[in-house]
Assembly symmetry: C2
Homo-oligomer: 387 residues x 2
Amino acid sequence: MKKYVSELLMIPGPTPVPSQVALAGAQNMMSHRSGPFKKLMLDLTAQLQALLQTNNEVVILSSSGTGGMEAVVSSCFAKGDKVLVATVGNFGKRWVKLAKVYGLDTEVLEYDYGQAVDPSAVKALLANDTEKKIKGVFFQMNETSTAVLNDVEEIAKVVKAHGALVIVDAISGFLASDLKIDEWGLDVVITGSQKAFMLPPGLAVVAVSARAKKAMEASDLPHFYLSLPAALKQAAEGQTPYTPAVSLIYQLSTAVKILTDEGLESILARHERLTQAVRSALRSLGMRLLNENDKTASRAVTAVYPPDGLNADEIRQRMKDDWGITLSNGQDELKGKIFRIGHLGHIDPKDVLAVIACLEIVLSQLGMPGIQWGKGVQAAQNVLARK
Amino acid sequence: MKKYVSELLMIPGPTPVPSQVALAGAQNMMSHRSGPFKKLMLDLTAQLQALLQTNNEVVILSSSGTGGMEAVVSSCFAKGDKVLVATVGNFGKRWVKLAKVYGLDTEVLEYDYGQAVDPSAVKALLANDTEKKIKGVFFQMNETSTAVLNDVEEIAKVVKAHGALVIVDAISGFLASDLKIDEWGLDVVITGSQKAFMLPPGLAVVAVSARAKKAMEASDLPHFYLSLPAALKQAAEGQTPYTPAVSLIYQLSTAVKILTDEGLESILARHERLTQAVRSALRSLGMRLLNENDKTASRAVTAVYPPDGLNADEIRQRMKDDWGITLSNGQDELKGKIFRIGHLGHIDPKDVLAVIACLEIVLSQLGMPGIQWGKGVQAAQNVLARK
């Protein structure tokens, strides 16, 4: 006898893929050097620019988001260039690793888990760089590992005043929160397909400013498959330097149509609503969030400590075994110490209501005292019922 | 701006199709006269017999369940044959219509909406038939329109004592509740693909006893596409008289594997659990069920009256518009007076928890006084949390 349970993926990526998008990947292959494919790519790129709120050039790399991050490092900088990484978690550390792999002179501004980058600290640090040696500042829009949203606009402001390139990993943050690339003057922005795009993993969409493009001319770092200049050159013709992941391009095209049809305002509003519902529900159950600051709260994922005496891994295991709900572990030093609830992409209020109701049961069955079933759900209902 | 909401189909059919089953329908077409297709059909039929708890012959008709009902009427009876229909709702009336279309002398035992067939009333009626003119007794296992489960075993017992054929429409009841075809001596049982089978509509699976087969010899009613004798003859060779719905057969094969893997005990237990959760939640909210009898409660669907002063159609509309949840209307005279929540097939506890949480919000937003959010959810949690 096998237990029958529907699977619900509530992790910060890969996120659930709507059937419409999943089926789009089953369309017949076409030549990526054909006219119809070029048209598909040009149309898609224009729609991506609208969603990204930018007139900057946009390329689609057939790699995960990390490939997009590497592309920027290896394409926009030269050996020995000084850069600053402001990191608030595991993905910030990835910027550091990448910069070091390519021999960049890397200064690191590091924050405790759950904290956001303080723009004034970036400002102070850059003020010391009177010789303007720092060529780029790297940070995350949304740090997935700690569920923290950075103030991209404010950080960009101080970086631009200094003159360095503003490089933003927006992989998990894009569409969950607002991101005004042109208005805020972001030089390179990287997104990934398996987040709010509602696609399987495999594509990175990168928006590149004229300043970033200019910086590429001085780059002497090795790059080939992940070359941004090569991608930019080909993208102008609706092409890619190497064979693109055709089925994922089909799916991106379908997803972008759905998202465009919905509109940015609604997309952002629903991520905001789900975030508030999850946070309110967890708090009403007496749980402690890794990031208690509502302003810097990630709109893509919420990280929470288990109640005293309970084990985070056990909670996740029971959620999976009993209710078919997959939640995320913490990363690095937070492994086993927190769990994370993803609420981005193709996740809706019904999913949040169900996950809270199931969590209430699991928590009390694992021995959390005084938990009243329906209380967390009620807190979520209070948020979600608002018109 | 278009509201983005996931669709949740909580109606008593078509039910949600799991992606595994949906994708099975996309397999390459094969010749329905080929060896591999014959093998597929023979394997499938054997697995269906196990799920149906019968050694009777089983045929798969490429029609909806109604086609299966018509097949029995036109194949097993002769013009002017006397039959008895025990009806408790809209689908019972369909038996009456079918019997009349084919010129059968039809006696009707009719019950009020929400009531089940009383086996002793059937017994009394058959006792009057001293000349044994009644050749068959037709009824529903589960009356979808009123959410009533008949006591198939008891009804069959009194019919068998009389000698008439026991003809059971188990379209919406099969797999939601127990059905022991051989043990209870059911002569013809009809099921449909779009219910607990978790398939799209389009197939009817019919189990036929030796007695029913014998009765076919005397039939003089016109039948061709829906001919049971023709289907039975071909089924022995893994064939169908006419072209079968090949993609649906693929899907049925996949679904039956999933169901067999789960096991009948678990399938029945989860339908029981969801039924209790829904009924308990609705009652805790002070709502009145069309059928308050827990013993005769349908394990596939629950019919409920709107609270005083509220409009059932408006509730359904709001559930759809605000939360993406489709519920069913009443049928016939119950149209607009009740609504129905389907909980069969690929529906799981998370769906029930979400539908109750959303219903709480809708009811109070439409003006139901004194409704406490989370209370209905808690009642459902109390049922669903039981191990």
